[in-house]
Amino acid sequence: AAPLPPPPPSGRPRPCVRFKCGFTGPVLDVLSRRPGWQQAKDEEEWDFLWCDVSWLRENFDHTYMEEHVRICHFRNHYELSRKNYLVKNLKRFRKQLERDAGKLEAAKCDFFPKTFEMPLEYHLFVEEFRKKPGTTWIMKPVGRSQGKGIFLFRKLKDIVDWKKVRTTVFSLGNLVLFLFFHPLFLPMTCSDGGRTEEQKDETQIETYVAQQYIENPYLIGGRKFDLRVYVLVTSYIPLKAWLYRDGFARFSNTRFTLNSIDDHYVHLTNVAVQKTARDYDPEKGCKWMIQQLRQYLTAKHGAGSVEVLFADMDNIFIKSLQSVQKVIISDKHCFELYGYDILIDRNLKPWLLEVNASPSLIASSQEDYELKCHLLKDTLHIVDMEGRLTGKEKRVGGFDLIWNDGPVSREGNLGTLVNGSFMANTHLGCYNDRKQQLKQLFRTLSA
């Protein structure tokens, strides 16, 4: 392959960034419209890649990337995004935190509902299940998204029915394995990167997690909702993470009640599932911007409680990233935009439902389209192929730097110690005047 042009001397914009993008919609629009960026032709070399995770799995390991090249995923992001790996990493991190810093600090990791990998931890799960009879649990496939394959249960009998034993013969000699299959199971490949090579050749075992269901979600207008928040990580070692001010609350279309466990729609607020509900009106949107939510909660509970709630959410983002910090293959080419799903309960405690390494970038409305375009634009500003930033910025557009190998304070410049009380540099659900901020930022940088 022809050698790529060297990276530009700092301060001068690159004449052309060649990007490759596997998607249409806001991503492609933002990339195409970025000044000086051009879509790479089929066999051409590229400088920037926005790919999906299957490309990653197939090609990352045998793709050579020059120093300046950027790609939108970390090789083993599934340590964070697959539910069973996340719970393993969090459990391990919590243990370590308890050893190093004590029980109180470790308790800050208790934002993930009790989760057990199935069928591996079936017996551990049954032990926990028997401790609290009558509580509701949710069974989720680890690899699937958009609410598929999820169901709720309260009795062990319900999953004994589910857990049908079938024999399957594998082509590995005469080994006969007994495996657990879902009755409606369709063979499928793992959607975001399996751990071993063998699994590519076999019919996939579908791993599930059984998770304690949050029975007292915070309701507005009698409806349950969850939050989608965006966190951008540009490096794991050291950990550098940005939090986007905008996000949204996704409402269930129907009123919440524990009586209708079989009513899939009540409990799953993913927009994808809601779209198939009978009375779903696609024009309606079922979404609130986080700013609306923050205002509603402030009017109802006062600014103090809401600040505690949002600080607890900051804690979720940081701790979850720290828990995978040593496991993720740190690669300077990689950055990743995560979509965090958070559920708030009636005590105003936030719970982490899951982390998406490929958050949906399809727009469901004009407002949604604009949010996603701005999100992506600001992501590209931070990735900074053009080499404009100094690296000392605490805010770029709608993103606030929340962790830079340590907490980032609102006051003062990056890295300076601040007297007085520490105020975190997070503004989730606050006013997002990104346009003005970017204008000012780039004006200062070019001066």
Binding site: I220, G221, G222, F251, W288, Q292, A299, K300, S365, Y431
Partner: protein, 503 residues
């Protein structure tokens, strides 16, 4: 004949005393006074003074003050003692007449729908239906009744047509509309304020005074205005002073304090008897089915259910509006409204006054204009009876003026005229241009004003706007805002060539 200030004052006092007498506050004060007799500091020699002091220190005097203040705000100053009661409703005869014919038209429309669909205006629900409704009380939005045959009784543009055709028969205006008179759609000679008068009235909105929503933005350090303003707000709430609260909110309410401040200004305390009253209304809804209920359902489905932000509160809207339609205490406001509640007769007794009832019980037929004025309140109040009372009070103080024809400065006619006059005076070129391209500005801004901007502004901005409505006890700010929007977009508007593009 001008009323001399002294007799005006004594008339006002007499009216307020009459209204407060027999109210629950009255009986509570009496009870408190009696209880205080047991206290050591109350001495027989100075009984009156001591009781007065006790009421002051225990906060009851403040409650009385708030009630009096509330009455002053709501009821207009009395006119000449010889004036007939219609004058308190509406002093101008031609306005009364116009309102009367508008009401006849609405009623005709309702009656014909009724006959067409053969649905009675009211009927008692069978027991099974009552039980079902009670179970579903918190999720009435899940109901999908067949509403295709119902149509809203009127649309905002019908109302605008009526307002456009208002004429004062005593006013000879043979001239064609021109810059020398009035180019707009409203052609009645009501007095509206000009900018200097508005500046004086709304002095707290001047550039030198801090405002929430502007001076608390991220770039402004909170020590500059926000911190002190919040502190003052907390003090006002601690003192429970209605008048101070009304003055305070002119600069905007902090989000966390707004619900309590508005309740203080509107003098809503959600006493047990208020909750009981709400429960009675609720049981009335359960027991009886009114034709207007279907109209309410239809209006809610058409407006709030499809709104991006208010869809969440759909169920609360049904609860509030269905109760509202049965609330006969709302009839009180008709003494100072130009409107008159429609009457209906028990079947077979048409025309016989003893068998006349107001229909619906609260006298209001059309809902689509103010459904969206309930929704923002759901952001602030979550307890149904409190939400209900706040809405009812907001309605009988302000919002009713947006759907009746009157000469009141906060009435929709005056607001339209104020809007047009401001625009014509200060942006004549824009006004003329829009008129020429068939986009009379009022055609665009009418729906904003008639809904008090609900559904047209983001909720946080809407609530800041309504802070000022409460603070100044006037809706004139709606017209000023509408004109300001046009001024803000003047450059773009000058380039459009059609009404659709202007919208």
């Amino acid at each position: 004949a001008m009323l001399d200030p002294d007799s005006g004052l004594s008339l006002t006092i007499a009216r307020i005393v009459q209204r407060l007498q027999g109210s629950s506050l009255h009986s509570q004060l009496e009870r408190q006074a009696r209880v205080s007799l047991h206290k050591p500091e109350i001495k027989l020699e100075s009984l009156k003074e001591d009781i007065k002091d006790f009421l002051k220190t225990s906060g009851w005097e403040k409650k009385l003050q708030n009630a009096v203040y509330s009455e002053l705000n709501v009821f207009p100053s009395p006119c000449h003692p010889a004036a007939p009661p219609e004058h308190m409703k509406e002093p101008l005869a031609y306005m009364r007449k116009a309102q009367g014919s508008w009401e006849k038209r609405i009623l005709k429309s309702l009656n014909s729908m009724c006959t067409e669909l053969s649905i009675p205006l009211a009927q008692k629900r069978p027991a099974s239906e009552q039980k079902e409704l009670l179970n579903k009380w918190n999720e009435m939005g899940t109901d999908e009744p067949d509403l295709s045959l119902f149509r809203p009784v009127y649309a905002p543009k019908d109302f605008l047509e009526v307002l456009m055709n208002l004429r004062n028969p005593n006013y000879e205006n043979g001239e064609q509309p021109s810059f020398r008179n009035h180019l707009g759609l409203i052609q009645v000679p009501l007095k509206v304020k000009d900018i200097p008068e508005l500046k004086e009235d709304f002095s707290e909105l001047g550039l030198n005074t801090g405002q929430l929503g502007i001076d608390d933005s991220a770039q402004v350090p909170p020590e500059f205005f926000e911190n002190e303003h919040v502190r003052v707000g907390q003090k006002v709430l601690a003192e429970q002073d209605s008048a101070a609260a009304q003055q305070y909110v002119r600069q905007g309410c902090p989000t966390a304090l707004r619900a309590d401040l508005w309740a203080l200004i509107l003098n809503i305390s959600n006493q047990p008897e208020d909750i009981l009253y709400y429960e009675q209304l609720k049981s009335n809804v359960i027991q009886y089915d009114l034709l207007v209920d279907s109209l309410i359902y239809k209006d809610v489905k058409l407006t709030a259910s499809n709104d991006d932000y208010y869809f969440v509160f759909e169920d609360y809207l049904y609860q509030v509006l269905l109760c509202f339609s049965r609330d006969t205490s709302v009839l009180d406001h008709f003494t100072y409204s130009s409107a008159t509640p429609p009457k209906s007769y028990i079947r077979g007794k048409l025309g016989i006054e003893e068998y006349a009832v107001f229909y619906p019980p609260n006298g209001k037929i059309n809902y689509n204009s103010f459904i969206l004025s309930v929704a923002p309140l759901c952001f602030l109040y979550h307890e149904p009876s409190k939400l209900y009372q706040i809405f009812r009070e907001m309605y009988v103080r302000f919002f009713f003026r947006l759907h009746s024809i009157s000469s009141h400065p906060s009435g929709i006619v005056s607001l339209c005229l104020l809007f047009e006059t401001l625009l014509q005076t200060h942006l004549p070129q824009l006004f003329y241009h829009l008129r020429e391209i068939g986009a009379q500005p009022l055609r665009i801004s009418f729906k904003w004003m008639v809904r008090a901007f609900s559904g047209y502004l983001a909720t946080d901005q809407l609530l800041l706007l309504w802070d000022r409505i409460l603070g100044y006890n006037s809706l004139e700010i709606l017209a000023v805002l509408a004109a300001a929007v046009f001024a803000f977009r003047a450059v773009n508007l000058m380039e459009v060539t059609s009404l659709a593009a202007a919208e």
